[in-house]
């Protein structure tokens, strides 16, 4: 028989109140864990994209119309119907400072073609640098030779074509050399052909719609390179994809701060629930506290009983809140994943943090009720019966 037995028995006896306190803490902790896990997962996804793109640079024609989404990222305004970049101008890139850091220059010609009743976006690219610019591609079949076409996963599905089939484009039958496995990007909806084939098909000889550039180094002066490219191609927009991602990260930072505030408010409310319930519980137990004091319990023993009760509930709430928070985050990510697999790794740090947070919150909210209980006059407490 010790104080923990008294606390445990009391919790088991007052299940309703214990459940209420538990629920208050679990909701607070689960919300915080859920939000943090979700934000971390989204952040790491964006960071992953940032790493995939490295210091890639995108050159687009200077226009203020038609936004282009590409690679899952909303990139600036590009018009592939109205304005083009002269392919010959790209030779100037070989002479800019830091030209040695350029690993690949990938001109892209975009055009829309009709295949029977379906309109499809075709992209003419330089397949000799696609392994640098599109390292995530997994081609089922072969890379296309001149005159052949490589289909994105969705394009192949919609057109009901497979490797070896023929794609009729503007009166030309192009054999399908392969299909790109699902990438989760807009590449899935495209048909890729050699640059010269696209220029011929869309009558854009010597022109390109956009240019993708892969810079070699991790710490190369990307901002300066963008400046030099702009000088070399004054009629084009030049932007570092890293900057786009960076902007997203900044937006995510704002969202993170907002999420932290929401979590703080919910935790505060959880703390209030604990405070009010514990106060009620202490008042209900006036006579018991009187007995404890009469038989020789010190004030600190009474406080210890209250803290043990809230501590035990908080520990449970921390564990349950962590599990529930992970489940919330997983459900939210699955809902947004659009069929892609979602993984949330177990984080010992987060679990320990959740338990620590729950215990700290539970104990902090119990300070005043514990103080009230300890200050009760034993004589008054016994007379309350």
């Amino acid at each position: 028989m010790n104080l923990s037995v008294i606390s445990t028995r009391n919790l088991l006896r007052r299940k309703g109140k214990a459940t209420f306190i538990l629920a208050g803490l679990v909701i607070g902790v689960a919300t915080t864990v859920g939000i943090l896990t979700y934000v971390n997962a989204v952040s790491s996804d964006i960071l992953h994209k940032l790493e995939q793109y490295g210091a890639n640079i995108l050159i687009t024609p200077q226009t203020e119309s038609l936004a282009l989404g590409y690679g899952g990222l909303a990139l600036g305004g590009v018009s592939f119907e109205l304005e083009e970049i002269r392919q010959s101008d790209l030779a100037r890139l070989e002479h800019i400072p830091y030209a040695g850091n350029i690993a690949a220059v990938g001109p892209v010609v975009l055009g829309v073609a009709s295949v029977e009743d379906t309109r499809i976006l075709m992209a003419g690219i330089d397949f000799s640098v696609s392994h640098i610019l599109k390292p995530w591609w997994q081609v089922q079949g072969n890379m296309p030779a001149v005159g052949e076409v490589l289909l994105g996963a969705d394009a192949a599905r919609v057109l009901n074509l497979n490797t070896g089939d023929m794609l009729p484009v503007k009166g030309v039958l192009m054999p399908v050399s392969g299909v790109i496995a699902n990438t989760g990007s807009q590449d899935d909806a495209l048909a890729f052909v050699h640059l010269e084939d696209a220029q011929a098909l869309f009558n854009k000889q010597g022109l390109v719609s956009m240019v993708e550039i892969a810079a070699l180094c991790k710490d190369c002066p990307i901002v300066e390179m963008v400046g030099y490219i702009k000088e070399a191609l004054p009629d084009a927009n030049v932007m570092a994809i890293a900057q786009v991602v960076k902007t997203r990260m900044e937006m995510l930072g704002h969202f993170k701060r907002f999420a932290y505030w929401i979590s703080a408010v919910i935790l505060f409310i959880g703390g209030l629930v604990v405070l009010v319930t514990m106060m009620g519980s202490v008042r209900e137990r006036t006579s018991e506290i009187g007995i404890f004091r009469a038989v020789g319990f010190r004030r600190r023993h009474i406080m210890k009983i209250v803290f043990l009760e809230s501590g035990m509930l908080s520990l449970l709430a921390g564990l349950a809140g962590y599990g529930l928070g992970l489940a919330f985050a997983f459900a939210a990510l699955v809902a947004e994943a659009d069929g892609q697999s979602v993984q949330i790794p177990f984080s010992g740090e987060m679990a320990a943090g959740a338990v620590f947070l729950a215990i700290a919150l539970g104990l902090a909210a119990s300070i005043y009720p514990a103080f009230l209980a300890a200050r009760m006059d034993p004589n008054d407490a016994l007379r309350a019966l």
Binding site: M1, L3, I6, R293, G296, F297, R298
Partner: protein
């Protein structure tokens, strides 16, 4: 030699015109091993006096010394230690903790003492067997009779073998048979050297005490040793 010395104990509740003097300048001395009953009408101040003797209700003025310790010169935590080491309480309403078993209720004063689990259980079992309740050790208070509850409260009061037992209307909720059994226990513990101070309305119960104090309007009206005891 006096074990308990009360000097000019007074207790006033409220202030100004609403002030009520519950205990007024009461003085007495009690030797170790005495069995004292305190009698008086309702509202006479006897329970207030017992609260003062129990280190739970500080007097407005006066001094209480037990075993050489000036009780109200101690801070509240030391007063709690004093209660634990020197006093056993038996209340009229039993005051058992409803979610603890009979054995655990008896062990309550031991919960904050630095003793092993086994030792605590041995002491509680011994106390229960002294009051004849060993077989009900694992029942909850809601599962035993009024007389058994009172005996549980008695076992709790003596479990740490305190030198003083304070009882407030211990037979108030009991029938005559259970009341007589309880008084027999009081006599037994008094015979073993325990000092007993019992507040009661009942003449039958008071007759078991060797000394009788009568309180009226907060004052000690009489303090005497009856010629013979009922027992």
């Amino acid at each position: 030699m006096s074990y308990i010395i009360a000097r000019d104990l007074s207790k006033t509740f409220g202030a100004g015109q609403a002030a009520v003097k519950a205990v007024s300048n009461i003085s007495f001395e009690i030797a170790s091993g005495e069995f004292v009953s305190i009698m008086g009408e309702s509202g006479s101040g006897k329970s207030t006096l017992l609260g003062i003797l129990g280190a739970m209700n500080a007097p407005t003025s006066g001094r209480l010394v037990v075993d050489g310790i000036d009780i109200y010169g101690l801070n509240v935590e030391k007063q709690a230690d004093f209660r634990r080491e020197y006093l056993g309480f038996v209340f009229q309403g039993f005051h058992l903790v409803p979610y603890l078993t009979v054995l655990e209720n008896v062990m309550l004063p031991l919960a904050v003492m630095p003793l092993g689990k086994k030792r605590k259980q041995q002491m509680a079992s011994h106390a229960l067997s002294q009051v004849g309740l060993a077989e009900k050790a694992f029942r909850l208070p809601g599962e035993i009779s009024g007389g058994e509850k009172e005996r549980t409260a008695m076992a709790r009061a003596i479990v740490n073998e305190p030198p003083i037992l304070l009882a407030d209307e211990p037979s108030g909720n009991l029938d005559s048979k259970n009341s007589a059994e309880l008084m027999a226990l009081f006599e037994k513990f008094n015979a073993s050297g325990m000092t007993i101070i019992m507040v009661t309305h009942s003449m039958e119960c008071a007759a078991y005490a060797k000394r009788r104090m009568i309180i009226s309007d907060g004052r000690l009206k009489s303090d005497y040793f009856p010629a013979s005891n009922a027992a």
